[in-house]
């Protein structure tokens, strides 16, 4: 069984990458949140698997933290938010979906190329996934830029954090616990603030379209 652990972790890494792509091409916000939840679950599974394989209790805690935050609490909060905001329609993208996919592929190639020399130096058994983690981060970043509504931007931000935690887990078997707690706290507070903001944007503009937020320009 232990022999299969690197392969299983690679499998979870591929699943996370797949979900990142699915999130880019997803049009409905409810499904977007579900995909984000599944990505969190895959991340938790990878952490716990690595914890079992390397006998590091810290990774169990890290996985539990991710579970609590990214699989349970934040998706629940986001679902409540979109229900209150009545934001269930299809999402418009700034560039059409096939072009988004092509750009995504280019980003993935870029990330893999960047990470290949570094991942060879990693001691962890899952070191090859560093490129995948970086690709997830870049894909989430692209999702943030190419969406014109507020909620997908928030989900892109959270998905980026997912990619980073995954990078930390696979490249170095997790960061020290205090840092993980700090990051989790930051993410949580950030999401809460964004939630509050979305209500206020909705109040001011009667819509969550980001195009309303482009009035401040260079003169």
């Amino acid at each position: 069984m232990l022999r299969h652990v690197p392969q299983l972790i690679n499998l979870f890494a591929t699943l996370i990458l797949l979900l990142s792509f699915a999130m880019i091409s997803q049009r409905r916000i409810g499904s977007l949140i579900n995909l984000f939840m599944m990505q969190g679950a895959a991340l938790v599974a990878a952490s716990w698997l690595l914890a079992y394989a390397t006998q590091q209790p810290d990774l169990y805690w890290s996985g539990a933290l991710t579970l609590l935050l990214k699989v349970v609490f934040i998706p629940w909060m986001l679902q409540r938010l979109i229900r209150k905001l009545n934001v269930r329609w299809d999402v418009e993208t700034l560039i059409n979906i096939p072009t988004t996919m092509l750009v995504g592929i280019a980003l993935v190639i870029f990330a893999f190329g960047l990470a290949l020399p570094v991942s060879r130096l990693s001691h962890s058994m899952a070191g090859g996934s560093l490129g995948i983690a970086l690709a997830c981060v870049l894909l989430a970043f692209m999702m943030m830029i190419t969406r014109s509504k507020a909620v997908p931007q928030v989900i892109g931000f959270l998905s980026m954090e997912n990619g980073l935690i995954f990078a930390a887990t696979t490249a170095t078997n997790g960061m020290p616990m205090i840092v993980e707690f700090g990051i989790a706290l930051d993410v949580l507070v950030g999401v809460l603030i964004l939630g509050v903001f979305m209500f206020q944007i909705r109040e001011k503009f009667d819509s969550l379209d980001i195009h309303h937020l482009e009035s401040l320009r260079e003169d």
Binding site: F21, I105, V108
Partner: protein, 316 residues
């Protein structure tokens, strides 16, 4: 060429020709049952073929020889495809003649003839169907190639028989790139075989047809050949899928006992595959035609990512 080889080749061909309509009937029956309808008999496609072969063919006055010969060419392509996909055994004497890339070429040949024949008679729906078919094929072919390349990169060969042999003999390993390729392949086969969510095989509305529009003008034995060719295509695609992703149970060379066992194993695998396809069809709605490029683009990109993941992870 050994006797056993020749025997296994012809057995594979015969099985394909005879079992393909049964596979189509099974998928239709599963779909009906999932939709809470009374399922038609599993042998219904055979009855349809029988009926069609005994009818008189009616053809347009200015139909060219292309129109007349297209069904035969298409049927022959599908037969050839069946001959080189290792469904029962990897000991196929014809297999060195064609590998995965040539297989895709065979499908392309069939598609070209189909589209040309549909446009030949000059009806509006024929051109409509031909254009849509080319759109689907233009995007599905690269995706299929990429899926094959995913498997080829792992096994270092594009010949389907070698892929099956290598993968069947490896220890149970989990290849993430094959996972991605599998998802991509499912999407491609749904598109190529005219299944929901790309095309509804039951539709009677010409404006939503792709595959049905192509064969709208045909009748009698031509129509029978085309329907049979469609069933063969489904059979071949299932065979490719099983060869790439579930290659266990296929007989090797010089193993007559395994050859005998391979048939029930194949039937079993095809039954499960067919039921899964029916499930996917029931759970999804047909998508609008201009969304099809997105769908296939996704499949293509997933296969490309599978390739990249293989390169990155070194293992695949």
């Amino acid at each position: 060429m050994s006797w056993l080889g020749a025997f296994s080749q012809s057995l594979a061909l015969l099985t394909a020709v005879l079992l393909a309509p049964l596979l189509t009937g099974w998928v239709n029956a599963c779909r009906a049952r999932l939709q809470n309808k009374k399922p038609p008999s599993l042998l219904q496609p055979y009855r349809l073929l029988h009926k069609l072969f005994h009818k008189d063919s009616v053809m347009a006055e200015h139909a060219s020889s292309l129109y007349r010969s297209a069904p035969y060419v298409i049927f022959a392509c599908m037969l050839m495809a069946c001959a080189i996909v290792p469904t029962l055994s990897t000991d196929l004497p014809l297999s060195p003649a064609a590998d995965g890339i040539a297989l895709v070429g065979l499908f392309a040949l069939a598609r070209v003839f189909m589209s040309l024949a549909a446009m030949d008679v000059g009806t509006a729906f024929g051109s409509l169907g031909a254009r849509r078919e080319m759109l689907v094929g233009f995007l599905a072919e690269p995706a299929l190639l990429m899926v094959l390349f995913c498997a080829s990169m792992i096994t270092r060969s594009t010949s389907l028989t070698e892929i099956v042999e290598t993968l069947a003999h490896r220890d149970l390993a989990i290849y993430p790139s094959l996972l991605l390729a599998g998802v991509a392949f499912t999407m491609v086969s749904l598109a190529e075989n005219a299944r929901v969510p790309v095309d509804n095989p039951d539709t009677h509305l010409e404006l939503t047809m792709i595959h049905e529009a192509l064969i709208l003008e045909y009748s009698a034995r031509h129509l029978a050949l085309l329907e049979w060719a469609a069933s063969l295509k489904l059979f071949v695609y299932s065979g490719i899928g099983l060869a790439l992703f579930f290659p266990w149970g296929v007989a090797e060379a010089n193993a007559p006992l395994a050859l005998v066992l391979a048939l029930p194993v194949l039937v079993f695998k095809l039954a499960i595959g067919g039921a899964l396809m029916a499930l996917i069809e029931t759970l999804n709605a047909k998508m609008r035609v201009f969304r099809v490029p997105e769908f296939l683009g996704t499949a293509f990109l997933m296969a490309v990512i599978g390739l990249l993941v293989n390169v990155l992870l070194g293992v695949g």
